[in-house]
Assembly symmetry: C2
Homo-oligomer: 158 residues x 2
Amino acid sequence: MEVDQSDRRLLALIQDDCRQSYAELAKQCGLSPSTVHDRLKRLQARGIIKAQVAILDPIALGLDICAFVQITLSHPKTVAGFLDKVVKLPEVQECHHVTGDFDYLLKIRASNALALERTITDKIKTIEGVIRSHTAIALSSAKDTPAVDCGRTSQDQS
Amino acid sequence: MEVDQSDRRLLALIQDDCRQSYAELAKQCGLSPSTVHDRLKRLQARGIIKAQVAILDPIALGLDICAFVQITLSHPKTVAGFLDKVVKLPEVQECHHVTGDFDYLLKIRASNALALERTITDKIKTIEGVIRSHTAIALSSAKDTPAVDCGRTSQDQS
DNA sequence: GATAATTTCCGGAAAATATACGGAAATATG
DNA sequence: CATATTTCCGTATATTTTCCGGAAATTATC
């Protein structure tokens, strides 16, 4: 019932490339292909592997702009409605409730400045409760990955 | 040489789940499995599909804290060295050069407050050129996905 | 508008892979 | 030390991926 060293190695491998065959994965972590299969199936069932997805190139799809939008809500009453609507917007990749001067931090991808303006003005600022927004444009991204550090647990529970 | 409607539908499908068989994908977009294979292979070769990866649950791996750290650099001379080092840190998921009061925005995952402190104090603030940092903790995340909007190009080029 | 050239698409065969399963090894338990 | 439990592995089978030749459709050319 714990995530051991082999699991972590497997996770590190597949969060980089999940289309390697079990045979390859097995070689890279000293197990047999069937054991790799068993473990991955279990990790998926346990929800530790949340999904296996393709990472697309936004620019190739015409999404040239990435922006971070900070949002202030007027009242806690408006939170549920805000989240409900914002989560459904396909241009919103991330929506975090954060500490600090603003309440929420959104990561947004749009085709161009005009499209970004439309998203912010027409789709976000019109949501009930949104009383302030502050936008920062990403000029470039040196790193942008969903991969996490599988290195080792904070403290080993024996 | 363009990304057509079928490509976009395929991309939308696999950025949600890339382990569906070609037969299933084919069914869902009205093509034959071999055509799906052809198209996906080409999209990968063109770099539109950048990777296929597993999305892991950070909390299951003991990464309980997500934080956004804004960084100011003292001088353009220090940019290259900063990026070089910051990109290599496994706890840094994203590093964007942004407009606004700060220069860079980092998304960081750590086990706990202590580990986050260590990362910021020992690994980031020690990088040459870093003269200011501002950290916001994510209390919760309503959405956090690498998926983009495949809906349709900004304007169809005929 | 007919013909040719190019591209896209498809079916089927072969190879590679994933999956299921029974039993062996290792580990934990009493 | 015996037993129970878990992890691991090899093998056999089912599924999938991959390749290839040709048909269909689209586009270009005259």
